[in-house]
Structures are given as C-alpha cells and as structure tokens.
C-alpha cells in the first residue's frame, strides 16, 4: 500500500504490538463498555421498565411557574427542565456557589421530580444536585455502565485522562496497523486459512481490523477529544487565549451576549415557546434551560436531539420575557462557523445516535468487531510466545478479561435488580461489578486448564443472560404483557436479546473449548 522500509516496518510492528500488550486489556474494557453504552438509553428504559421517549411533550409552564413562585430568587438564576427515561419530569432551579467538597464553583439548588400528567411533586432534593445521580438518573445500571466507559469509574479528572490516553493508543494502533498493511484491498476479502494455525489467527485479525479501521480511527479520535477536552485541552487553550480565565472562555464559546436588565417581569409562556421551537426546528425537545427566569433579560435555550436529518443537537434561543424566537444557536460561538460544524459532529460520530436504532446497531456491531480485533491481536501475540511462562500467564489474563468482563457487567445488572426493591442500587450496582470481576479472577487462578476455564466462563455467561429477564420480573419489573400493551419496546427486545444470547452461548459452550496449551520441550539431540 504505502512504501515502508524494513526499519520503519520494525518500528511500526513494535509500536502496534507493544502498545496493545501494555494497555490492550484496558482498551478492551473501554471499547466493550462503549459498545454497551451506545445502547445506554435503551438499557435505562429496559431497567426502569418504561419506554417513554425523553421528548418534553406535555405542558410544563404551569408546573415551572408554580414552583418558581415558592422559591427564593437565588434559585431562579438558572432552571433546567428535562424528562427522564422513566417518563418523569425533572426541574432543577439553581445558581452557582462554591462546593466545599471540591473548592470549585458548582451548581446549587432545588431539584424536583414531577409527575408530568398531574404536575404533582414526587420528590424534592436540595444541594449540589449534579453530584447526586440517585436524584435524577432513574437507572443506576445505565449510570454505572456509561461511567465505566467514560472514565473507568475512576475519580475526576484521572479517569478521563486514562481513557484519553487509551484513545490515543487506539489511534496509534489503528494508524500503525493501516501503514503495516501491504495489501489493504486484498485484506478486506482475506479468507481464513484452515487448520487453526497462527496464520489463521492472523487472517481473522486482519479481516476484522481492515473492515473496522475507519470506525476505529473515528472512535479513537472523538473519544480522546471528549476525554481531554475538559481536563487538558480547554484549560491550556484558556490559559493562552484568555489568560487563564476559564469562565471568560466558556462565555465566549457557549453564551450569547445579553445586555443585563434585572427588572422583574412576567416570564414568557414555556408551552408557547415549546410549540414555536417545534415549529422552527422540529422535535424531539429533550432539554430546556432558562437563564434569569422572571427578569427582563431572561433567555430560554431549547435543545432538540438528532432527528429529521439533523445529525447532532440543535439549540433554539428565545426571549424569556417576550417569548419571541431569537436564533438557532450553534453549539459553540454565536454564529455558524467551521469550528462549530466540526465540534457538532463529534458527538454523533462517537455515539452513533444520529439515525436512531439503525445507526446505533451499526455502531454496536462495529464496536463488537473492534473488541474482536483487540482480543485476536493479543491472542496472536500470546500464541507466538506460548513457550514462555510469562506470556502463558498473560494469555490466562486475556481469557479472564475477555470473558470475565462481560460476566462482571452482567453481575452489575444482577446486583441492580436485586437491590432495586429495598436497597440503594447506586451502591450495589458497582459492587456487583467488582464482585463479579473478582470472582472471575479467582476462577482464573483456581482452574488450571484453559479449556475448562473457557467452558466454565461460557456456562456462567449463558446462565447469567438466560436468568436476567426472570430476575428483572421478580424484582417487580414490567411484564411482557404490560410491555406489549403499553408499547414498551425496549423491555421486550432486550429481554429477548438476553434469552437469545444466553441460548447461543449455551449452544456454543463446548464448541469453543480451546486447545490445551502444552509447552513444547526442546527435543534432545544425541550427543555428537
């Protein structure tokens, strides 16, 4: 493909191989959890038993107005309104204050969980509420799985920095792999050579990586961007461009200029604004943000998610006093620009939600393919060195991670449903993951035979999938009859997927028994 000298090929091979060996298992963790996180909203609806779309499609003006009248003016600085995956309306009335836990400015206020039909307040909590996911995220399972992908459940900002580094590693591995291809077009159609030889493993790795290469580069690039943007890039650029004033940079990027006018006025009708927003851009409306509610300089930002040919989020801005439409605001800046266009593409390219279930299915499939690429590459590395105890041990770690991680993720789902009736799912869900991971690691140490270990893991995976829908029902989840009656598609489809996956894994368990690795002793030569 691209002429590469032998020394260059050696360096590329070293980078491609060793970067994979050193960080490949962590990268696999990020990719497999990312593959699951693509369906995060669907998992949230399945786990809460509701398929409510998150569009704000019921009247909210009366609800917000009644709540605002009972709150101090401090809380009316900013209001966020959205709907959860469980179908409940959330309203967060807040301003900014220093968070004593972090020493940094944070959003402090009163958060309400509301029945959207009756307007009844179901729950009220006060504090730095974005730090309390139990108050606004109905699915601890989705929250944990997404957090595991985004920052490996490590504290801020270290988790993001680690996943950012892994994204760079994936870029390096993908591009070095591309450069190492001598015959890219041919490799798209390479047929696996028979005999389970090392070259057969190479063929599978090459085929999968060739087809998923553009996807790998896009995901690595966008993933690194998201990880480094807030932790590294934004502060550095703010230091250079704004003398370190992060807030000034944030205002330049995200807030349209507004002349201050603190006179109290009657707020505009939010439902009229919703109708105008739908008319201007189309639905669904997933988030409404109101700045300076009840003031003459109030502004209302309405967020429209991807639909009807829109790739990413669209934002319409309205005068919060007069109710008039002001503009379709770019995501960054106050005018359309190439910088905004590129920034807008990053989210839909990373999560694949721009065309509903179809694009998510494609992204999920490519994510699974990337997992196979990572594992097959590592497996090939181990097979070339299987005579050395160190690499046999690494091979064992590879098996435990490749099969143990999905088991641990299923264990987190089990813990979620077991905790749902009477305990705190936000505590027990990650606990379940850790318990599952430790159990798999323990089995990896206890079961010496590779084939038996794999078969055991496949059995555990199969049963964990097959029984999970039953556990969900036993924990008070939506029944299939109710799901069909109320058109809760996710409840039925994910249950069926789990049953199908469990059945397939049970059927495949003995067919996947790996050849037992026996280290070859060098043949003794007769003494001369």
């Amino acid at each position: 493909m691209i002429p590469i000298s032998q020394p260059q090929m050696k360096r590329l091979t070293a980078v491609h191989g060793w970067s994979g060996v050193i960080l490949g298992l962590l990268l696999f963790t990020v990719v497999i959890t990312g593959t699951v996180a693509v369906f995060g909203d669907d998992i949230a609806r399945w786990s809460t038993g509701s398929s409510t779309q998150r569009g704000i499609d019921k009247p909210i003006d009366g609800i917000v107005r009644n709540l605002a009248e009972r709150l101090p003016l401090f809380y009316l600085d900013d209001i966020a309104v959205w709907k959860t995956d469980a179908g409940e309306l959330m309203a967060f009335f807040h301003s900014h204050a220093e968070n004593p836990a972090t020493g940094r400015p944070d959003e402090y206020g009163a958060m309400f969980r509301i029945d959207p039909e009756s307007g009844e307040v179901l729950d009220r909590n006060e504090g730095f509420m974005w730090k309390e996911p139990w108050a606004w995220d109905p699915s601890a399972l989705r929250h944990f799985l997404v957090d595991l992908h985004v920052q490996l459940y490590l504290p801020d900002p270290w988790g993001l920095i680690v996943t950012g580094i892994l994204g760079l590693l994936m870029m390096a591995a993908a591009v070095s792999g591309f450069l190492m291809h001598r015959h890219m077009i041919r490799d798209l159609f390479v047929a696996e050579r028979p005999g389970a030889r090392l070259v057969s493993a190479r063929d599978r790795h090459v085929l999968a990586s060739s087809w998923s290469l553009p996807f790998a580069v896009i995901l690595a690039f966008t993933g690194s961007f998201f990880s480094f943007a807030s932790t590294v890039s934004f502060p550095i650029v703010a230091q250079v461009a704004f003398g370190g004033d992060n807030e000034a940079m944030a205002r330049t990027l995200f807030e349209p200029p507004v002349v201050e006018d603190t006179r109290r006025v009657r707020p505009a009708d939010l439902d009229a604004i919703r109708a105008k927003a739908l008319d201007k851009v189309g639905g669904p409306l997933t988030f409404i943000s109101i700045h300076h509610y009840g003031r003459a300089d109030a502004r209302i930002h309405v967020w429209h998610s991807a639909a009807d040919g829109r790739l990413g989020f669209t934002q319409t801005v309205f005068d919060g006093a007069a109710g008039t439409f002001l503009e379709v605001k770019p995501q960054v800046g106050n005018k359309p620009s190439m910088g905004n266009t590129i920034r807008t593409l990053m989210w839909p390219l990373h999560v694949g939600d721009f065309a509903g279930l179809v694009s998510k299915a494609v992204w999920g499939a490519l994510g699974a393919t990337t997992c196979f690429v990572i594992l097959s590459g590592l497996r090939r590395w181990v097979r070339r060195r299987e005579e050395e105890p160190l690499w046999r041990g690494f091979g064992r770690a590879l098996t435990v991670t490749a099969l143990g991680l999905p088991i641990a993720m299923l264990a987190s789902a089990w813990a979620f449903f077991l905790a749902l009736p009477a305990a705190d799912p936000f505590f027990w869900t990650p606990f379940g993951f850790v318990a599952g991971a430790l159990a798999c690691a323990g089995l990896g140490l206890a079961v010496r035979d590779d084939g038996k270990l794999r078969a055991l893991f496949w059995r555990i995976l199969a049963w964990a999938c097959l029984l999970l829908p039953l556990l969900r029902l036993a924990a008070g989840g939506t029944s299939w009859a109710e799901a069909l009656a109320r058109n809760h598609g996710e409840v039925l489809s994910i249950d069926l997927l789990l049953l199908a996956a469990g059945g397939l894994m049970w059927w495949a368990r003995d067919r996947r028994r790996a050849p037992t690795v026996v280290p070859q002793r060098p043949t003794m030569e007769p003494a001369e």
């Binding site: 390096a172 890039s233 230091q239």
Partner: protein, 119 residues
C-alpha cells in the same frame, strides 16, 4: 562582515554535526525520547500555540475550537512522524524546532502579557 559570518557559521555547523552524531550514536534512546515525551510536548505546544496564529473565523472562535478538537490528531501526526522519519537527526531537529517555535509563540500569551481573545 564575511569573516564574522564565517566565524559564527563554523562553530554552529560543528555543534550541529556533533549533536547529529550524538543522536545517531544512541538511536534507540533518541527514538524513544522523540516519539515519547518529545512528541507529547510538541503536540501540547502546537495545540497551545494555535490560538495565537489561527484566524478566529466568522464567529471569532475557530482559533480556540480547532486546537481543542484536533488535539488527538496533532499528537498522532507528531508521534508517527517521530517514529517513522528515517533520519534521526532530521526528526530531532523537526520535533525540537516545533517545541521551540511554539514555546516562543505561547510564552507571551500564557503569561498574560498578550491577550489573544477578549472575554
């Protein structure tokens, strides 16, 4: 003047040759340093310097959005260049040059002496 130029030129060339030989004597270490911390530092400084020289664009923000969005790509390009350039002295000169030029561009702005964008 010509004599002065020669008297400056010869030691500079000798120093550069000496540096090139030093790099070529330890190729593995040089490659590691270039593609590792060298590429990282160069990428960070290239990103940091972009607000200084990039046009702000119609919305006045391109010079701050592009470096944030392109940061991973900048590192990948610098890393692969440092890895693949057959000539180690040349690769060293390019990476060090990138670091030096961008550090000079960044220094006044980073210390607050030069405001690139107004808040």
């Amino acid at each position: 003047m010509g004599t002065f130029a020669i008297s400056v030129h010869r030691p500079v060339v000798a120093t550069l040759r000496h540096a090139a030989c030093a790099v070529e004597r330890r190729p593995l270490l040089a490659r590691w340093l270039l593609a590792g911390p060298g590429a990282l530092l160069a990428a960070v400084l290239v990103m940091a310097a972009m607000p200084v020289w990039l046009p702000a664009g119609a919305a006045g923000i391109d010079n701050i959005v592009y470096p944030i969005v392109l940061a991973p790509l900048i590192w990948t390009v610098v890393f692969l260049y440092a890895l693949l350039d057959a000539s180690l002295p040349r690769a060293t000169a390019v990476v060090l040059g990138l670091i030096l030029v961008d550090a000079i561009l960044v220094a006044p702005a980073a210390t607050g002496a030069l405001h690139v964008n107004s808040g």
